[in-house]
């Protein structure tokens, strides 16, 4: 299948979804006024990917900021990934956060509490 690559902007993250390797990366900031529009193609891509997924799916979330509008869309994305987990692919989430960024660490814990996917919290100096 085709990879999904989007450049980041002042309000949206860069997207690198690779169907062959099964590595899905979101990086940067996600603060659009209306996030539904931005996340729609990402979720559509995951739908297609779920039909012939790679054995392992690694989701790298490397967000510096995200707004509450995005938080809902990110949850929906995790739900989609949860629904394909164990059906031809093992999904794991790497949640990156910068040193001393308790808020981003807690945001990862929020999803961990709601979503039934393995989460690894990874502290880095800079995203």
């Amino acid at each position: 299948m085709e990879n999904l690559h989007l450049e980041g902007s002042a309000k949206t993250p860069s997207v690198k979804f690779d169907g062959n390797s099964g590595v899905l990366e979101l990086k940067g900031r996600s603060i659009p006024e209306n996030s539904v529009e931005f996340y729609k193609p990402l979720n559509d891509w995951i739908d297609t990917y779920g039909q012939t997924p790679s054995n392992n799916t690694t989701v790298d979330i490397k967000l510096e900021y995200f707004n509450t509008s995005s938080s809902k869309c990110i949850l929906d994305m995790f739900k989609k990934l949860e629904s394909i987990n164990g059906k031809g692919t093992d999904v794991a989430v790497n949640w990156y956060f910068e040193e001393d960024d308790e808020d981003m660490e807690e945001a990862g814990e929020d999803y961990q509490a709601i979503i039934g996917l393995p989460f690894k919290m990874i502290e880095v100096e800079e995203i």
Binding site: N34, S71, D103, M104, I114
Partner: protein, 181 residues
């Protein structure tokens, strides 16, 4: 015009420790610019990464609240209903984000109810409240999730100071003061 009013305005803004203020229509482009300006200001002021992130996060939510509120009033013929105010203040080592906007009575009552619930919660309760709202709520067409105020309270770590000022039979003026320390 008495031009000394310009100087008076300058003095007032200085006395109130205003870093940035705006009154009018809040658009997406305006928000992009304001966020950029605030990021460079905070770098210039050598704020800690923690403070920079908190201010930025709270600012995004406060300004996008105004933005979505004004979008709702787009059809309203009353120009004032589409106008809002925001002020960013640094006093001692604390930041304050202050917003003001007109709001109809019904929405005001609903918002007051939500704010009182949020203000009665401690850190742990807020976390659970947020998780609950996140997992149960649905996104409106505009992409708002009703999570904004909970998020502002969580990230600021302070109570949301607010007041609804009576204007007329239809409208109140909603004032919000968020402290980030």
């Amino acid at each position: 015009m008495n031009l000394s009013r310009i100087f008076n305005l300058y003095r007032t803004m200085e006395k109130e420790n205003i870093l940035l203020s705006f009154k009018g229509m809040v658009t997406g482009d305006l928000l992009t610019s304001v966020l950029q300006i605030m990021e460079s200001k905070m770098t210039y002021l050598q704020e800690t990464p923690r403070m920079k992130k908190k201010v930025f996060n709270v600012l995004v939510e406060c300004l996008q609240n105004l933005y979505h509120h004004i979008e709702e009033e787009k059809q309203n013929r009353n120009l004032e209903a589409k106008s809002a105010l925001f002020v960013i203040v640094k006093e001692d080592q604390n930041f304050f984000i202050r917003t003001g906007n007109f709001i109809d009575l019904k929405s005001a009552n609903e918002l007051k109810g939500r704010l009182d619930i949020i203000n009665a919660m401690n850190k742990e309760e807020l976390k659970l409240h947020y998780q609950e709202a996140l997992s149960s709520g649905t996104l409106s067409d505009k992409g708002t999730a009703g999570l904004g105020m909970i998020d502002i309270a969580r990230k600021s770590g302070n109570k949301l100071e607010y007041e609804f000022l009576p204007i007329n039979d239809d409208f109140q003026f909603f004032c919000l003061n968020v402290k980030i320390d």
